[in-house]
């Protein structure tokens, strides 16, 4: 139920957008994410965009996770506040 699928915004038409799920395109309601832009990634649940993917934050935090896992040190929670 709480499954949500990421897709790329291709076109915005008022209250909906055409989102591409790698070839499969579908109309998605964007009322919960009014600031989406063409080309951005959104997470879609039951036909509604529920959030934009945070590209900058994603890359930053994933490289932090990677650093943490690859270091000899143990996880330091304070890096994540």
């Amino acid at each position: 139920m709480c499954l949500a699928i990421p897709g790329k915004v291709m076109e915005i038409n008022g209250p909906t957008a055409i989102v591409d799920f790698n070839g499969v395109q579908r109309d998605v309601v964007i009322g919960l994410c009014p600031n989406i832009e063409i080309g951005s990634y959104v997470v879609v649940h039951a036909g509604y965009a529920i959030e934009m993917v945070n590209e900058e934050e994603a890359l930053k935090s994933i490289s932090l996770w990677q650093e943490m896992i690859e270091s000899e040190e143990n996880f330091d929670q304070t890096n994540f506040f």
Partner: protein
């Protein structure tokens, strides 16, 4: 997000988060830290999609997760926790020839007291599966002479979708049977259960996408309890487990966000506003678990005209949540594993489900049945 994988869509950070070599490194860390734990730990997730990832990738196998780390499934399957009473009400509504009942696909096969929506549909009731509330609105617009009832189930991820529609003047022939539920109150109940000690929660990433980190931070602070908000790739879950184990070892009790590529600290504030506009909190019955205070959503006074229970008369029903022999009430709170139920894979199978957990893609019994060779 394993769906990216299946769709071949490349997202930021995927090369790391989907890399099996990275997964092996996390596992190595998990094994190192688990050797230092002074007692076996029990982690609970409350999300059907997390259960799916755990089972599909065999993460509970003794070759993967250390033996002293147990991951159990909590009440995170919305169709499973929907009480029989609500399904019985939906069935009653379909007896009215003017009504078209719409709901999510997972819901229609869930057994209620004497029947299920799919059985009623086979007998001729007008019950239609929708992908989301927008489809139900469309059916209402296309059928102005009919009454369209949307049987609304789901957690915080799903509730704002309907709130958005209700706040935007839906057609007057559209009403809602509201059965939405909230996750943090269920977590509160889980840690208060006697004879049941949990050490950490793996919190649902898409619930947090909407409500943000605050409710989970408050939970951690109130109960001195470690939480991690995790995504749905195997590596997301392994990272989540590692983060919890580290906290447990260090006796720390934070709420940490692993799923930062989607979950913002403040959540989706637009969605939160729509929820506040449309719903109020109410005590709510969870199937096989009972009444959980402030765990349900009901329509506010301003939106009462869309409440199916107000528009249509439904007789009092004598509903029964758990059929004889079924262990769903214990499976739902992690007290029993699906395969410990005497009916599992015998009388109760996905083709002929006895209890609610054998039905949908998020039900623990159904998932255990599908992936039983990988445990």
């Amino acid at each position: 997000m394993k769906q990216i994988d299946e769709h071949g869509l490349e997202m930021p950070g995927d090369q790391i988060i989907q890399n099996p070599e990275f997964g092996k490194k996390i596992l190595k860390k998990i094994h190192t830290i688990s050797a230092d734990l002074i007692h076996p730990v029990k982690l609970m997730h409350v999300c059907g999609t997390h259960e799916h990832t755990l089972a599909e990738y065999g993460l509970r196998s003794p070759n993967i997760i250390p033996k002293n780390v147990e991951i159990i499934s909590g009440p995170g399957c919305p169709v499973c926790v929907c009480p029989a009473e609500d399904i019985d009400r939906a069935i009653e509504l379909t007896k009215n020839q003017d009504i078209i009942l719409t709901t999510f696909g997972d819901m229609i096969r869930v057994p209620s007291t004497h029947s299920s929506l799919s059985r009623e549909k086979a007998k001729g009731a007008d019950i239609r599966i929708v992908y989301g509330p927008a489809d139900a609105i469309k059916i209402a617009q296309d059928n102005p002479n009919k009454e369209i009832v949307f049987f609304a189930i789901g957690f915080e991820t799903t509730a704002p979708l309907l709130a958005l529609e209700l706040a935007n003047n839906p057609p007057s022939n559209f009403t809602v049977l509201s059965a939405h539920k909230l996750i943090p109150p269920a977590m509160e109940l889980m840690i208060s259960l006697p004879d049941f000690k949990l050490d950490g929660f793996i919190c649902p990433g898409h619930v947090a996408t909407i409500i943000g980190m605050k409710p989970f931070i408050q939970f951690s602070e109130k109960h001195n309890f470690p939480n991690v908000i995790a995504g749905f790739e195997p590596n997301d879950m392994l990272l989540g487990i590692y983060i919890l184990l580290t906290q447990i070892k260090n006796r720390e009790t934070y709420a940490i966000n692993e799923y930062t590529r989607v979950v913002r600290p403040q959540g989706n504030q637009v969605a939160q506003e729509f929820m506040k506009e449309v719903y109020g909190c109410t005590d709510s019955k969870w199937r096989g678990i009972g009444l959980i205070p402030n765990s349900g959503l009901e329509l506010k006074e301003k939106y009462q005209q869309y409440d199916a229970l107000k528009r249509f008369e439904i007789p009092l029903l004598n509903s029964q949540d758990i059929p004889k022999g079924c262990s769903c009430h214990l499976v739902l709170v992690g007290k029993k594993k699906p395969e410990q139920c005497p009916l599992f894979a015998k009388k109760c199978t996905p083709i002929n489900p006895v209890g609610p957990c054998m039905v949908g893609n998020e039900g623990s019994c159904r998932i255990s049945y599908m992936y039983r060779s990988r445990q």
